[in-house]
Amino acid sequence: MELQLGLALPSVPFSKGFDLNSCGYEAKEVLGGFDSILDCNVEKSSEEKKRSFDEAFDVQSVQVPETLPLLVWNQQTEHNYPENSSSSITRSDEEEEEDGIIGWPPIKYRRKKLCHGSPISDANCWTVGNGESGGGGDGGHSRGPNPTYVKVKMEGVTIARKVDLSLHHSYQTLTHTLVGMFGRCQEDVKAYKLTYQDNDGDWLLAGDVPWGTFVRSVQRLKVLNNGD
């Protein structure tokens, strides 16, 4: 328990009169919940401050918006992050993606170290590293004999995934797998187009070159919404 040196206020209903929203500052409010009910008028008299909060937050009358375009907002602030904070020390270069989320999932540094780069002895059941730096204990469920992992991102989805190209032999199976990987319906395959970055660094539409050529030159994949 805390060192309580008269810090704790007796529990008062906070709604009574301690609303700093009427202090003359135009409070920034995010999306809908407040402004449509609490009129942020600087000239409000003190009587009007005492609006009951039950009244103020009557959910039925609030236009609670649909799921926010949070990703747009997130991307803006992520670009504000300085370079050094985007690298958790243990991540390989592959992991330092522009959309990488710092500190997520919430695992302590010590455990993160274990996931990437723990030596896997032959005595264990796991097969030895998969050719990528930082290969941890992969489950071995969906791996070919010579796994070729490339990173895949889908437009609008935060976390990237990895796909083992050695398990596929055509663009069709690959696209279907990817669509499924991101939780989209298989019928929606036509709504997406697959692009890839080749070893020259150029982003190309997948499907133009023979499969073998593609597999040899692909560095990473991106699934975009069709009609962009």
Binding site: M1, E2, L3, Q4, L5, G6, L7, L9, S11, F14, L20, N21, C23, Y25, E26, A27, K28, E29, V30, L31, G32, G33, F34, F57, V64, T67, L68, L70, W73, T77, P82, S85, S88, R91, E95, I101, I102, W104, P105, P106, K108, Y109, R111, L114, C115, H116, P119, S121, A123, N124, C125, W126, G136, G137, D138, G139, I159, A160, R161, K162
Partner: protein, 591 residues
């Protein structure tokens, strides 16, 4: 009124000598009871403060060392916490603060008889360790939990100078590991060791020094080795310490040799008091049977570094019928959790960590089903930390109904904003059921797709909730308002990447003085709102943590990167790094 009180006090003082009151107070150990006692009247305040022996400071910036030492002159044991919890996940920039030296320096003068120091998330320098080692002749217990800033040189000072040391516990601290030589600084005459935890150290300590240390410590109860201690050497230590209660192995791997195996198994079976095991890096499954004979007595098992598959985990865990606490990787899978539910009826705490957290595809077959099974089969389960990749409202409702005795529920669905995988709806109803049924819930961490609705449930039903962690959740300020205007017992609130802005914070400003702290990062709180809070609430420190440069260089409406608000009687910090700003009463920006 005043004269009545003083007459009463005088009467009391005459009829009840201080020594008697002091004796009575010595039976009161809980801090909250002690605080209550000190508020009864002035003389009780005085008597209590003179005899308080143990102090807990939940936030090192809430009070100053001088205030502490002035009020409580006879302290023997101190516990102090520094950085906010999200520092564990790299969200607090390096150099933010939490330095312990000023505390040690003040206590060195005020508490020559200090015996115990426990620190969590603090920056501890070698100088601080050296000062500890030379200032307190009766020093017995040093626990450094998730601390950093010191090297093995600092440990050498402790080893060399603390003649009465009983406990050296470096729990998960980041130590600059220069060499293992520090252990040899413990004098040969020193035999009072009770607990040694060096699991976080990287480099090898001198094994012969360790052996001799263990051999001359008859009171040794807890020994947690680091990864560098090889498996073949374990039996040497265990044979010299058959009285061990808690043991942590090093790397649990070696070439399979029958003599090594039988030595190890023999040594383990000699430890009849063993209740807890940990360590198990790099496990070779063939060596696991060496501990089978200890299983029936085990109450605590930490396999969270053991990269072994489900069948091996199941064989082990099914023998631990008295297990109360299990930490394990998700290699255990649903099938392993079924076995756990069937075998371990005394289980109280379960933590399942992700083996491959950065890939969204499941690499193991661990889903919500495993947790539901444990909630059904383990009637005493009260604390859960669970990382998984899919969850449903139905599962959460089942868990809530099965286990209304849950006290701590932390769920991390790895993909942010993942919906109920069956219905694609938000998980509001599921978490709502948790707070509805689990009336004793004190700690909750949310994840998955969540609207403002879940916060309405939490605000109204989470009456005993003390700590709440929120990430990638909510839709508007309404969500935050529900929490701040409800949750009567809330002490710590930490939020990241949520669309919460100024309004809810400003509307519930007074709430912040009843809490230990609020952390918000990657939200939408503007600098202007921070200034207003800092101005109007002098008993709060409102820290703006922003690595983009001074907030004055941007419009006031611009959201801050991170903010950390905590109540304090110590006033603004004097040790802020350049990227932390607080606001004065006159709204001046102070660095």
């Amino acid at each position: 009124y005043l004269s009545n009180t003083s007459t009463l006090s005088t009467k009391m003082a005459k009829s009840f000598p201080e020594e008697v009151l002091e004796h009575v107070f010595s039976f009161i150990t809980s801090d909250s009871d002690r605080n209550a006692v000190s508020l009864v009247c002035k003389s009780w305040y005085e008597i209590e403060r003179w005899c308080r022996k143990r102090v807990f400071v939940g936030n090192c910036y809430a009070v100053s060392p001088r205030i502490l030492t002035r009020r409580f002159p006879e302290v023997r044991s101190v516990e102090i916490k520094g950085k906010p919890h999200f520092a564990d996940f790299n969200l607090v920039p390096e150099g933010w603060g939490g330095c312990v030296y000023p505390w040690i320096s003040a206590m060195a003068g005020a508490y020559p008889w200090l015996e115990e120091i426990r620190l969590k998330r603090m920056v501890v320098s070698d100088e601080a360790l050296e000062l500890i080692s030379t200032s307190f002749c009766n020093f017995k217990v040093l626990v450094l939990s998730s601390c950093e800033g010191f090297s093995t040189d600092g440990l050498a000072s402790i080893a060399a100078n603390c003649r009465e040391l009983r406990v050296l516990d470096l729990r998960e601290s980041e130590v600059d590991d220069l060499s293992g030589h520090w252990l040899s600084h413990f004098p040969d005459t020193w035999t009072s060791l009770v607990s040694l935890n060096i699991a976080c150290l990287g480099s090898e300590v001198s094994f012969s020094a360790l052996e001799r240390l263990v051999a001359r410590s008859p009171n040794l109860r807890t020994l947690r080795l680091n990864r560098a201690v090889s498996l073949e050497k374990l039996h040497n230590l265990l044979c010299r310490a058959p009285q061990l209660v808690e043991f942590g192995t090093g790397a649990y791997s070696s070439e399979l040799r029958p003599d090594v195996f039988s030595n190890l198994a023999g040594a383990f079976s000699g430890c009849k008091q063993l209740k807890g095991l940990s360590g198990f890096w790099d496990v070779v499954p063939a060596y696991l049977p060496a501990i089978y004979l200890t299983c029936s007595g085990l109450t605590s098992l930490n396999l969270s570094y053991a990269t072994i598959q489900s069948p091996d985990l199941v064989k082990l865990v099914s023998q631990c019928h008295n297990l109360q606490r299990l930490w394990v990787l998700d290699y255990i899978e649903d099938i392993g959790l079924d076995a756990l539910a069937a075998s371990c009826k005394h289980l109280q705490e379960l933590r399942v960590f992700p083996s491959d957290p950065y890939v969204v595809d499941p690499n193991v077959s661990l889903t919500e089903r495993g947790l539901v099974a444990v909630s059904e089969g383990c009637p005493k389960l009260q604390s859960v930390l669970y990382f998984c990749r899919q969850m449903s409202n139905a599962a959460l409702v089942a868990i809530a109904r099965n286990r209304p005795n849950l006290v701590c529920f932390r769920l991390c669905i790895i993909e942010p904003r993942a919906p109920d995988y069956l219905t694609l709806e938000p998980l509001d109803a599921g978490f709502g059921a948790i707070v509805e049924h689990c009336k004793e819930l004190r700690r909750l961490s949310l994840s998955g797709l969540l609207t403002d609705r879940v916060f309405e449930y939490i605000g109204t039903r989470g009456r005993k909730l003390e700590m709440l962690s929120i990430a990638f959740a909510g839709e508007s300020d309404l969500g935050l308002h529900h929490v701040l205007s409800g949750c009567e017992s809330l002490r710590k609130l930490e939020i990241r990447d949520c669309p919460f802005g100024d309004k809810a914070l400003l509307a519930n400003a007074a709430k912040l003085e009843t809490m230990r702290s609020l952390w918000m990062s990657s939200c939408s709180v503007s600098f202007g709102a921070c200034k207003l809070l800092g101005q109007k609430l002098p008993r709060l420190n409102v820290e703006v943590i922003d690595e983009r440069g001074s907030p004055d260089s941007r419009p006031e409406s611009c959201p801050v990167e991170k903010l950390y608000i905590y109540r304090t009687v110590a006033g603004p910090r004097v040790d802020m790094p350049p990227f932390v700003w607080t606001i004065d009463e006159d709204a001046a920006l102070r660095v």
